[in-house]
C-alpha cells in the first residue's frame, strides 16, 4: 500500500455493543483526515483515540477521508481493527498485506 488512496466508497465496521466501536468512513472533498469521535471517555482518552485513528489511517496511505468513531469503551486494538476493516472495505481490498497492518 505505497500509493496514496483517495478514491474510496462509504463503508463501516463494528458494532455499538459494549467494548466495541462502530466506525464509518466516507470520502471527503478536503485533503487530509477528518476524525469525528463520540465516546463516553472522550474527556480523558479522546486525544489518544484520535491519535490512534489518525496513525491507523495514515499507515494505510489513505487521504481525503472522514472517519467517524462511536466508541463504546473499546481497547486500542479493537479501535484499530475496526478502522482498518472499514478502510479495507471502503477500498475494496479483500486480501490485504498483513505485514503492514
Amino acid at each position: 500500500m505505497n500509493t496514496l488512496h483517495v478514491h474510496l466508497q462509504p463503508a463501516h465496521a463494528g458494532t455499538l455493543e459494549s467494548s466495541d466501536a462502530f466506525v464509518r468512513v466516507m470520502p471527503n472533498d478536503q485533503a487530509g483526515v477528518e476524525i469525528v469521535l463520540e465516546s463516553s471517555v472522550a474527556e480523558i482518552y479522546g486525544d489518544a483515540i484520535e491519535a490512534l485513528v489518525l496513525q491507523t489511517v495514515l499507515s494505510m496511505n489513505v487521504d481525503r477521508v472522514k472517519v467517524t468513531v462511536q466508541d463504546k469503551g473499546a481497547l486500542d486494538f479493537v479501535i484499530k481493527a475496526r478502522v482498518q476493516t472499514a478502510l479495507l472495505r471502503a477500498l475494496g481490498v479483500n486480501e490485504p498485506d498483513w505485514s503492514t497492518l
Binding site: 465496521a13 463494528g14 458494532t15 455493543e17 459494549s18 467494548s19 466495541d20 473499546a74 481497547l75 486494538f77 479493537v78 484499530k80 481493527a81 475496526r82 482498518q84 476493516t85 479495507l88 472495505r89 479483500n94 486480501e95 498483513w98 505485514s99 497492518l101
Partner: protein, 295 residues
C-alpha cells in the same frame, strides 16, 4: 516429555468483541478463537482482523491460543491462515477434517506462510472430526503430520451426518468417541471431546465430562466460560490419587538418584507409563490448586 494440560478449550467467536477482549480472564487452558461457524459471512473480514490484533495483544501472550479457521476450500480459509499465523497463533484447528489429505493440504499452506514470514516456531494442528468419513479415517488423520497435537470430536455436524440427534446419554456418539480416542492414543496426541450446548444444565455437563474423562479424553471444547470451573473440577484429582502420585514420583526420583534402572514401590515394579501417569496427575493437581507449584 511433559504434557501440556488442555482440559478446557474455550470457543470465542471472532465476531464477539466483548468475548475476544475478555476470554483470557476466565483462564481456560486454551482460548480457541473462531472464524468459522459462529461468524456470519458478512463479518468474516472483521472477525479475522479482530483476532489478528487480539493474538498480538499482551493479554494473550501467556495463554495458549488456537484459531478455528475456515476451510481452505472456502474463499476465507487462506486469508485466515495468513492473518493468524503472522499474528502468532499456537494452534490451527482444522474444521471438518474428513481425510489425511485435508491435513496435508493445510500443513503445506501453513509451512509456506511460516517460511515466507520467517516464523521459527512451528504452528500446531488440531483436527476436528465432524463426519462419519472423518471418524473412519481418524487413525490416518491423527498420524499423518508431526504438527498434529490432537484430534477433536465435532458432535453437532457428526450427528447430522449420522442422521440422528444428540441425547443426554450420548449413545449416538459412543462409536466416534472410542474411535477418536484410540486414534489419538495410537498417534500419541491429545483427544478432545465436543461442546455441551445447554449452558444452563450443569448436572448434564458434569455427567458428560466425567464420562469422557473416564474414557480417557484430555479435555473438552467449551462454549461458555461458566463451564470452565465445572470442567476443571471434574479433572481435579482426588487426595488418594495425589498421594499415590507423590509416592510413585518420589520412588522414581529415588531410583534415578541411586542409578537403578527399575522403579519399585512397596516391593512392586513400577512401569514407565505409570510414572508418566503419576506426573500427569501431579500436573493436574497443581493446575487445580490442590497442590502447590513447588510440590
Amino acid at each position: 516429555m511433559k504434557q501440556k494440560l488442555r482440559r478446557s478449550m474455550l470457543f470465542v467467536p471472532g465476531s464477539n468483541t466483548g468475548m475476544v477482549c475478555n476470554a483470557f480472564i476466565y483462564q481456560p487452558d486454551t482460548v480457541m478463537f473462531d472464524l468459522e461457524d459462529s461468524v456470519a459471512l458478512s463479518e468474516k473480514d472483521s472477525a479475522r482482523m479482530m483476532v489478528f490484533h487480539a493474538l498480538q495483544h499482551f493479554t494473550y501472550q501467556n495463554i495458549e491460543t488456537a484459531v478455528r479457521v475456515n476451510p481452505l476450500s472456502s474463499p476465507f480459509g487462506l486469508q485466515d491462515l495468513e492473518a493468524v499465523i503472522r499474528a502468532g497463533a499456537d494452534i490451527i484447528r482444522l474444521p471438518k477434517t474428513d481425510t489425511m489429505d485435508d491435513v496435508l493440504e493445510m500443513e503445506q499452506e501453513i509451512a509456506h506462510i511460516e517460511n515466507r514470514i520467517g516464523r521459527e516456531k512451528k504452528t500446531l494442528l488440531l483436527a476436528a472430526i465432524e463426519s462419519a468419513l472423518g471418524v473412519v479415517n481418524a487413525v490416518d488423520i491423527a498420524r499423518c503430520s508431526k504438527r498434529m497435537m490432537g484430534i477433536a470430536l465435532g458432535a453437532e455436524d457428526f450427528v447430522r451426518d449420522l442422521r440422528t440427534q444428540r441425547t443426554k446419554e450420548g449413545t449416538e456418539l459412543s462409536a466416534a468417541r472410542n474411535q477418536i480416542l484410540l486414534a489419538a492414543r495410537a498417534a500419541k496426541i491429545g483427544a478432545f471431546d465436543s461442546v455441551f450446548s445447554d449452558v444452563k444444565d450443569k448436572e448434564g455437563f458434569v455427567h458428560e465430562a466425567q464420562y469422557v474423562k473416564g474414557l480417557g479424553f484430555d479435555g473438552k471444547s467449551l462454549i461458555n466460560p461458566n463451564q470452565i470451573p465445572w470442567l476443571h473440577k471434574v479433572f481435579e484429582p482426588s487426595k488418594k490419587e495425589v498421594d499415590w502420585a507423590i509416592e510413585v514420583c518420589e520412588a522414581a526420583k529415588d531410583a534415578k538418584e541411586k542409578g537403578f534402572g527399575v522403579v519399585s514401590l512397596d516391593g512392586k515394579m513400577v512401569d514407565a507409563p505409570v510414572v508418566l501417569r503419576a506426573e500427569w496427575i501431579l500436573d493436574l493437581a497443581r493446575a487445580s490448586g490442590v497442590l502447590g507449584e513447588e510440590q
